[in-house]
Amino acid sequence: MSVTYLEAIREAQFEALRSDPNVFVYGQDIGQFGGAFKATKGLAREFPGRVLDAPISEDAMVGMAVGAAVEGARPIVEMQFADFSSVGFNQIVNQAATLYWRTNTPCPITIRLPSGGTAGSGPFHSQSMESIYAHYPGLVILTPATVEDAYWMLLDSVKLDDPVIFCEHKFLYYHLKAESFGEHSLPIGKARVARPGRHATVVTYSAMVHEALRAADELQMEGYQIEVVDLRSVKPMDTDTILGSVARTGRLLVVGESFPWGGVSAEVISRVSTEAFHMLDAPPMRLNSKDTPIPYHPNLWKAHRPTVGSICDALRRLLRF
């Protein structure tokens, strides 16, 4: 008996709908069809009138969720692909993210973003948007890497009185399995040391956690113990856990699947350089995708994003410094 990351997303929504009548789910093709990835499979039947197909109108979907939240509902909005949230960008960053600060009105909405690349998906079905949204005040940005986090963090998101951008990784949907959803362990905002080590720290999140863990396995055969920190939440960012890890290892590599310019990895490096410069034995490094749109063909796609191989290469350079 095992459960997948996608089942965690589906079951968390089931539980949210079951336990709170103010929760509803709104998104394209999520009703009877159960969603493009089947993350809402069967929910429309179990919760009539609360799991609804939306027109292809990302702007109106988010605006509608904000209005509903003001009125006491706790909407979950599914973007069919993270990439399409750009059409709802204005409502996310200017409406939802400013509401509490401007008007003292909580805005409990969860926007689910099926994120990241899978081979063959191309430039408009592969994007990672966490850095874009993290730039704006007033949003919480979550990037679960495990089945347990996908389940518990989604439930936490719906209970939170602030807008949450929930970046769930499409690559993990079917491949990542666990025995169960486990226990609710860490609160939102806390990072997790996914693997302890002492020679170098890899700070990463979402699907790249698994690539980093494989790279750590490989480096172990070369005699290095690599610590892997899973951010879980990119905003707020658990700076203390990052600094603690760097204090142990003295070396830092940040890995992210998103585009290289600015972003989460630059933010981690900035914080470590400012707060822990004296702890560093080597210049901090980062590894992101290439600075081009995301390619379609698997050969190009694999070379575009960080992989076990490129993470290993980066770590070897970091360790040799």
């Binding site: 009548p21 103010n22 509803f24 009138g49 609360r50 939306a54 027109p55 109108s57 990302e58 702007d59 109106a60 979907m61 988010v62 605006g63 509608m64 969720a65 904000v66 209005g67 509903a68 939240a69 003001v70 009125e71 006491g72 509902a73 909407p75 059409v87 204005n90 409502q91 200017n94 409406q95 993210a97 400013t98 509401l99 509490y100 600060w101 401007r102 008007t103 009105t105 909580p106 805005c107 005040p137 007033g138 919480v140 939170l160 009185d161 602030d162 609160p187 939102i188 905002g189 905003k235 707020p236 960012m237 700076t239 914080r271």
Partner: protein, 347 residues
């Protein structure tokens, strides 16, 4: 298509109940004009008003007519830039306007946002963002939630927009979505001929914006926005239709913005032939003539109301002028309601 004919009032519409609402609406319009004249003076004088001033001169009849039909506490209202009269009709206190314009710490926006970007969402008055068209879906969402939670009864939502904002994708998405959900929303389009400086002929190519109602599958009402009697008749009918389950109602009113986009703008781009045409007449003067002709009010009564409105506004200005401005030291600088998730790292 046949030209869209605006709905007008006949003698039969002028019931005692209608007269009472007409007079009450006129007084809101008059108070709004007085407050806005004061805001304009304060802006020109410099000092407490730090940002721009955006007035609804010429749109009072259209704006107030819809808001007069709403019930604060049950209905939802998302006013836009030129809805001072509507805001007053919905029960927004004058002090909310002054405190927001003057950035007083005591106001609903506490110096965090200014001028027309104000509201009390938890009382059903949404606080507009500047991005046009964006409030339509928010009102739709509030109505959706009322329906979901079983609290809707016969509540409605109303929002305003201008001719320019009908060009946004946000407007299109939201009115279409509201139509799909058959929500009781009233969308008032004030076609005041100019979006900032851009005239209708550079904004849209359809013959009349009212024709869009059919395309969206919603009810459409066209009205002369300078004629309070016609505006009230249409607003009463449209709001009643929404309350009765008739779905979204699109009202298009025509008038001229009697001033610039803001007080910084002299609107020299508005041609005289438009200014001095029927569309350019002042709805307050039209209403005064009408009330006197119908024997509903005398010139002396109207003047007395004006005096009263001025005294009320002067009193409020004097009160708010003495109120504290925001103190950056006491500001929480917290964009999330969940305090435990606010990063202390950079502070």
């Amino acid at each position: 298509m046949t030209p869209a004919v605006p709905i007008t009032c006949t003698k039969a519409d002028l019931t005692p109940d209608f007269r009472d609402q007409y007079l009450a609406t006129y007084r809101q319009m008059q108070s709004s004009r007085v407050l806005e004249e004061k805001l304009g003076s304060l802006y020109r004088a410099g000092g407490r008003i730090v940002g721009g001033v955006y007035l609804g001169r010429g749109q009072e009849a259209f704006s107030a007519s819809v808001a007069m039909q709403l019930r604060r506490g049950q209905d939802v209202y998302a006013p836009l830039i030129r809805d001072q009269a509507g805001r007053m009709a919905f029960g927004e206190p004058i002090t909310d306007a002054l405190r927001t314009y003057m950035g007083a710490a005591t106001g609903p926006m506490r110096g965090r946002d200014g001028n027309i970007h104000r509201g009390r969402p938890q009382e059903g008055e949404m606080a507009m963002i500047s991005h046009l068209g964006a409030m339509v879906s928010v009102v739709a969402g509030a109505l959706f939630a009322k329906r979901l939670r079983g609290t809707i009864a016969d509540a409605v939502g109303a929002t305003s927009i201008g001719d320019g904002a009908t060009s946004t994708g946000s407007f299109h998405e939201a009115i279409n979505m509201a139509a799909v959900e058959k929500l009781p929303i009233i969308i008032s389009v004030a076609n005041n001929q100019f979006a900032y400086s851009t005239s209708n002929d550079r904004q849209f190519a359809c013959e009349d914006l009212i024709y869009r109602a059919r395309g969206y599958g919603v009810a459409g009402w066209k009205v002369d926005g300078t004629d309070l009697a016609a505006c009230l008749k249409v607003a009463r009918s449209a709001v009643a239709a929404a309350r009765a389950g008739g779905g979204p109602q699109l009202i298009v009113g025509t008038m001229l913005r009697l001033g610039g986009h803001g007080e910084h703008d002299d609107a020299a781009y508005i041609p005289d032939e438009v200014k001095f045409s029927k569309v350019g007449q002042d709805c307050l003067l039209v209403a005064e003539k009408f009330m006197i002709a119908e024997g509903w009010a005398t010139k002396a009564e109207i003047d007395a109301w004006l005096k009263e409105a001025r005294a009320t506004v002067d009193q409020a200005v004097s009160l708010v002028s003495k109120e504290p401005i925001p103190d950056p030291y006491r500001e929480s600088w917290q964009a999330l309601s969940s305090s435990e998730l606010v990063e202390s790292w950079q502070l």
